[in-house]
């Protein structure tokens, strides 16, 4: 019994990372995936902010699911989401002010993420607290994974270095390319290009995986 529920929770988490990856598969919540990914550090912080909001919203909605009237559920979901976004915003402004100065606007706009509202509506309002948490964790990690990948390539190619946060206020800069890097990758245009190419790569891997499964040993 306990093992089966464990695998289910694991599957729920994996689902958010691979099958329903918010950015690469569903193409939702794209704005921050380009706006904040010109440095690895900003990408990681943004990813964690979304992860935190997603998990907390799912937990809150799941706890309240029996007392929310069906007719007014959307405004209530929006209130819960904007409440948690405000919490995140205040926490980030207090603890990582330098990151907040750059990504602040996009933190505020987490409110308008279709993916967070969709998980609240489709999953958390119908399931108990543990699966809702796992679902939020999976979707959040999937988002973090996408943002990290995009910002990794953009900073590496565009600046020739990687900025890795090692603590709340500390960071380490690894430099790889000392000659002139491809500046376009940290410009707006490079963001769209990186997401387009990574999306195609994700499609290609999925297609190969599906083809292998179809022509498997049977």
């Amino acid at each position: 019994m306990s093992t089966s529920s464990n695998t289910n929770l694991g599957e729920l988490i994996l689902n958010g990372i691979v099958k329903e990856n918010t950015i690469f598969k569903l193409a939702l919540s794209l704005c921050p995936s380009i706006a904040v990914t010109n440095s690895l550090k900003n990408g990681i912080y943004m990813g964690f902010a979304v992860l935190f909001v997603q998990v907390m919203v799912n937990i809150t909605i799941s706890l309240m699911r029996n007392i929310i009237q069906a007719k007014v559920r959307l405004p209530i979901f929006m209130l819960v989401i904007s409440g948690w976004v405000t919490v995140t915003q205040l926490l980030m402004a207090a603890f990582v002010p330098d990151v907040y100065a750059k990504v602040g606007l996009y933190i505020a706009l987490i409110v308008a993420f279709a993916s967070i509202l969709a998980r609240a509506e489709m999953f958390a309002s119908k399931n108990s607290i543990l699966p809702s948490m796992a679902d939020g964790l999976g979707m959040g990690i999937g988002f973090l994974f996408a943002l990290t990948t995009i910002s990794f390539f953009r900073e590496l190619i565009g600046k020739g270095s990687l900025t890795v946060p090692t603590g709340l206020a500390t960071q380490h800069v690894f430099t790889f390319i000392n000659t002139k890097p491809l500046l376009i990758m940290i410009l707006p245009a490079g963001g769209f290009l990186a997401v387009g190419v990574l999306m195609a790569l994700f499609n290609w891997i999925n297609a190969r995986y599906a083809a292998k499964a179809a022509h498997g040993p049977h």
């Binding site: 794209l30 409110v111 308008a112 707006p188 499609n203």
Partner: protein, 197 residues
Amino acid sequence: MNSEFTKLLEIIISASLINNFVFTRFLGLCIFFGVSKKMETAVGMSITFTAVMMISAAISWVIYNAVLVPLEITFLEIIVFIGIIAGLVQVSDTIMRKVSPGLYYKLGIYLALISTNCIILAVPLISVGEKYSFIQTLAFALGSGLGFALALIIMASIREKLELADVPAPFKGLPMAFIITSLIALAFTGFSGLITL
């Protein structure tokens, strides 16, 4: 008076071309990629969008300056603005259905999409951050709407042609749209030195 007018013009040009919401601020991308497949929907969306944006920016400005600032609760701006937008979308949905069913039939579906759109929320947030006056906020909303309309219409006309192009399988659909957007964004960086605010 004259310099006031110049300032307004600068805000409109800056919001629509230099800091174009789609190409340099990366906002509203979900809608941008979602509705730019056909010219007709792109035009409908642009009109609805600009109208809702201007009204919501105006209401947000009044409530922010008349209620939030005197009470010193400006940190609640996100909750209040999203409430205003959701309420406004609901109200205009109801009014349009009663007053002009034809228009509702054409533009109604875009209204529903708008409440989860980040540009609509970003306009009041940015104009509050920049401490724009009421008229400047309206100009900023208008410029942003025009910029978004421009982006949607350029993209829609390219994507209608793209339907016939032979694109490698993994790039079909969204990845290709992203790469095209990247090229347009590159062109838009040419506007960056146009005027200095």
